[in-house]
């Protein structure tokens, strides 16, 4: 009797008719503890805490319109051409991947019947292949069934260089084969511990083969469906005006029960962040606004007695000051900051450590980032299992001064330190941006007190972040002593994030400054740890290796982390968005609902 009831209840949780919490509560009533209840669910085929988002609506539709504001509107709706997150966000309303990332960085199945694991045979022991099972009965918006062929086609489409898809980096090095109508196998060339890249998240969206088959390769831009998406998602396409508006309506055949909650969706673009915050928080014209890059003071003021609030999602985006290990003022073979040189001041590890002591992260947080930032000593800040507990930071001008004294840099007559007749002068560059320039000012002030002369420079973002080989002011050229910007972490795995700083990736004239190791950091130990981590299949050992890499970056003071930045959005008081710092805003759009 009990077993039968249990099984039916597990079944209900499985297809979403009962939420996890209700299940645990019911069992608690008959004397089961919560962990045991969770175990039961796991045994019953519901993965552990897959979706922390509680979904309350009990029927499909009826939620009225959902109006969201993206102050940079989507400009195209093919997820494989989406250069920016705005385009990925727009495409994701209609197209879906096999799985998305939830708030904790765990996989949440969307089109997959289950998440591959060693236990269910989805993952190969050698980490060279993964088998995904596709959920049966999923239909494209035009009524055609979704099959393995669509996935194989999407791989062929994206990996063809002539298609010019931006997702080629995800699909270029893998092979996808059909196992059966409802399962595919992804083969990797080398053991790949992080297997959840292809068909997961923004670039993971699958395209319908029957509509795109003729437009693979160089004809890709002629596909009519580039602008009129036909996907499997919770909303069906209605209208698209690039940069202005994307509209969708409820998909009555959606494959998840009780979803979506809203009858229509409208994503409006344009304007600026502050007025977007106003439209959500003050006037309530919109339900949700994306990416509130606004000072916390302004947001706090808007929130007083408003119709909405700000919401935060934690990812791994890190704002940092990078230190140049090479000399930006000496030219060798027509190249400044050449790897053949050594920085005259900053190559001394104690000087770098002293510099790190001069960054007052608390003041930066208080004055600039507020609730949208966390102070940190680490370069790698998530997911939790990869975060080092061995590091620390402090702000201490006296200690820094003493270290500099010990290193031979004595305060001169003009208050600036010097050694062997050389002045301690640094050029500190960043992209033109309010918060960054304020941070510069805070750091400069502390440096002055410690006898360091800092010259500030800010470069227009379109130049600073461009790949223009002819321009001397780009961040990879690094013709400065220190520079500040942010590197986003686009997936809940540190592999790509940490790989940048191996010696082989040093930015040089030879590789047209496309090497991603812009501080020109060279450390054999670091290279070895990365190489080991990239083939390590034991998740615990792998995490330990990445923590070691983070600690090396900290010991050697390659970066001075300024702020671990959170994602900030504005949201109406009644809307319950499912957000994750590891995914795009709309990656779990099917789970959004409005509290009555």
């Amino acid at each position: 009797m009990l077993e039968k009831e249990l099984r039916s209840m597990i079944g209900q949780v499985k297809d979403g008719r009962m939420d996890r919490r209700a299940f645990v509560k019911r069992l608690a009533a008959v004397g089961f503890t919560a962990p045991l209840a969770n175990q039961l669910l796991a045994l019953g085929g519901v993965a552990m805490a897959q979706s922390p988002a509680v979904y309350k609506p009990t029927k499909r539709g009826g939620g009225g319109p959902l109006k969201v504001l993206w102050w940079q509107g989507p400009t195209l709706l093919n997820p494989h051409f989406a250069t920016g997150t705005k385009d990925q966000d727009g495409s994701r309303l209609f197209y879906e991947p096999l799985a998305s990332w939830d708030a904790d960085g765990n996989l949440n199945p969307i089109l997959a019947a289950e998440i591959p694991s060693l236990a269910n045979g989805g993952l190969a022991a050698d980490a060279k292949s993964v088998v995904w099972k596709i959920k049966p009965g999923v239909k494209w918006h035009d009524g055609k069934p979704l099959t393995a062929d669509d996935f194989v086609f999407t791989w062929q489409y994206a990996s063809d260089p002539a298609t010019a898809a931006v997702s080629i980096s995800t699909y270029g090095d893998i092979t996808v084969e059909k196992v059966s109508d409802l399962s595919i196998r992804i083969l990797f060339k080398t053991p790949t511990p992080f297997w959840a890249n292809a068909f997961v998240g923004a670039y993971g969206c699958v395209l319908p083969k029957h509509l795109f088959a003729e437009y693979k390769g160089s004809k890709s831009r002629e596909a009519p469906n580039n602008l009129t998406p036909v996907g499997t998602g919770p909303y069906k396409f209605v209208e698209f005006k690039p940069g202005d508006v994307v509209r969708g309506e409820l998909n009555p055949d959606y494959h998840m029960p009780n979803r979506p909650h809203f009858d229509t969706i409208e994503m409006k673009g344009g304007g600026d962040a502050v007025s977007a915050a106003r439209a959500v928080i003050q006037t309530g014209e919109f339900d949700f606004a994306w990416n509130m890059q606004v000072e916390d003071d302004v947001l706090l003021r808007l929130e007083k007695g408003g119709k909405g609030k700000t919401v935060y999602a934690t990812g791994g985006d890190i704002e940092f000051i990078a230190i140049n290990f090479t000399d930006p003022n000496v030219e060798i073979d027509g190249e400044r900051s050449s790897i053949k040189t050594k920085h005259p001041i900053l190559s001394d590890p104690n000087v770098r450590k002293a510099l790190a002591l001069l960054v007052d992260r608390d003041s930066v947080k208080k004055a600039i980032y507020g609730r949208a930032g966390r102070t940190t000593a680490n370069y790698l800040n998530g997911p939790e299992k990869f975060v080092s507990k061995n590091t620390s930071w402090e702000f201490n001008i006296e200690k820094a001064s003493k270290m500099l004294d010990d290193a031979g840099w004595k305060v001169g007559a003009d208050g600036v330190r010097e050694k062997d007749g050389k002045k301690f002068k640094l050029l500190y560059q960043t992209s033109t941006n309010g918060p960054r320039q304020k941070t510069q000012a805070i750091v400069k002030q502390a440096c002055q007190k410690a006898g360091i002369d800092v010259e500030l420079k800010s470069v227009v973002a379109s130049v600073f972040f461009s790949s223009d080989v002819a321009n001397p002011d780009t961040y990879p050229k690094f013709y400065a002593d220190i520079e500040e910007f942010q590197i986003p972490m686009t997936q809940p795995d540190p592999a790509l994030h940490m790989r940048r700083y191996i010696s082989a990736n040093v930015a040089t004239k030879e590789n047209k400054w496309q090497g991603q190791n812009f501080p020109r950091y060279v450390n054999k130990e670091y290279d070895d740890a990365i190489a080991a981590a990239e083939t390590e299949t034991d998740p615990v050992k792998r995490a330990a290796l990445y923590i070691k890499c983070n600690d090396l970056l900290w010991q050697d003071t390659v970066f001075i982390p300024v702020m671990h930045r959170l994602l900030v959005d504005a949201c109406s008081n009644t809307l319950r968005p499912a957000l994750s710092g590891w995914a795009n805003r709309t990656d779990n759009i099917q789970d959004w609902y409005r509290e009555a």
Partner: protein, 319 residues
């Protein structure tokens, strides 16, 4: 007359060519490319970015790119947006109605205010009405549209909650309700643009009227026993309007410029906001096309002004 128009059109061709050349070179020399957003994304290797640059022909020399562009333009091909991956003309045509609606209404509003107020103020110079009109006009053109726009939003949307400040192109209503909604959401942007225009125009109409009103032929007309209204409308206004027409025509490009800011503030999906978003994303073909459209408008409105002169003042011969 038609010969004159034809000749003016022919003169316009080399000037447009020169404009396009300058625009193209400036844009080509400007830093950044549409794929810079990929630069900090660790998922995308730099080779992908390089391949995309090559595919869109960004690595060709400037003169070659200009000739390609010119050739395509002559064939009616406005180019292909790097960012939206669609044709630029579709993109612009999609945006044009909103801009024309807002700018047209603003211009009509400006004329409806400026002409009566300016004329009336000129007939009674230094009266109380004239003083008030003058003061308001000064206030009006001293305040930039981005300031009045935000002020209007704060007053009418945030505090009073009367008007929406996010413009929507497709209002879900039909018939009279659709019209009312369209008007309601356009009130603020049209008022912001229209009042700014009206302010400087009022001053201009007033001084143009004052110049004419003192002339002898006006006195003659009065001496003939014609009524005040007839004198003002038939005799004074027609002559006074000649400089005003020039002003309006020459101000049209400035109106489009002002509309860029206003469109951005109120999220009106017009060509102004298209221009801004394209500049921000370094979408050169779109920037090129939009600025070129603006250039064409300037040339066109100058021509219209010249033709209107002939109609207003037959003494000006068009040869």
């Amino acid at each position: 007359m038609s010969q004159y128009v034809l000749r003016r059109l022919l003169i316009a061709v080399p000037s447009l060519l020169a404009i396009s050349l300058v625009l193209f070179v400036v844009l080509a020399l400007a830093p950044g490319d549409p794929f810079s957003e990929l630069a900090t994304n660790p998922n995308v290797p730099p080779e992908v970015q390089a391949a995309l640059r090559a595919k869109f022909g960004l690595d060709d020399p400037i003169y070659l790119r200009y000739l390609h562009w010119l050739n395509a333009m002559l064939h009616g091909d406005w180019g292909f947006s790097f960012v939206s991956r669609m044709n630029v003309d579709t993109l612009i045509l999609q945006r044009l109605p909103a801009t024309l609606y807002v700018i047209g209404s603003a211009q009509i509003l400006a004329l409806l205010i400026a002409i009566p107020v300016g004329v009336y103020a000129a007939t009674k110079p230094y009266s109380l009405f004239d003083q008030i009109a003058n003061t308001l006009a000064f206030v009006g053109f001293s305040l930039p549209t981005f300031f009045t726009g935000i002020l209007f939003i704060l007053i009418f949307s945030v505090t009073l909650d009367w008007l929406p400040f996010v413009y929507t192109t497709d209002i879900k209503a039909t018939g009279i309700r659709w019209v009312l909604e369209m008007i309601r959401q356009a009130i603020m942007p049209v008022a912001v643009l229209g009042l700014f225009q009206a302010a400087s125009m009022t001053r201009f109409v007033r001084s143009a009227m004052l110049d004419v009103i003192r002339l002898d032929y006006v006195t003659t007309a009065r001496a003939k026993g014609l009524g005040q209204t007839t004198v003002i409308i038939k005799h004074v206004m027609r002559n006074a309007m000649i400089p005003v027409v020039t002003l309006i025509a020459l101000q049209m490009p400035a109106v489009f410029g002002g509309a860029i800011v206003t469109e951005q503030i109120f999220r009106i999906p017009g060509i102004g906001s298209l221009l801004i978003s394209s500049i921000l994303s370094n979408d050169t073909p779109v920037v090129m096309a939009v600025t070129f459209v603006f250039a064409c408008l300037v040339v066109l409105f100058n021509l219209i002004a010249d033709v209107l002169y002939g109609w207003l003042d037959p003494r000006i011969s068009l040869r």
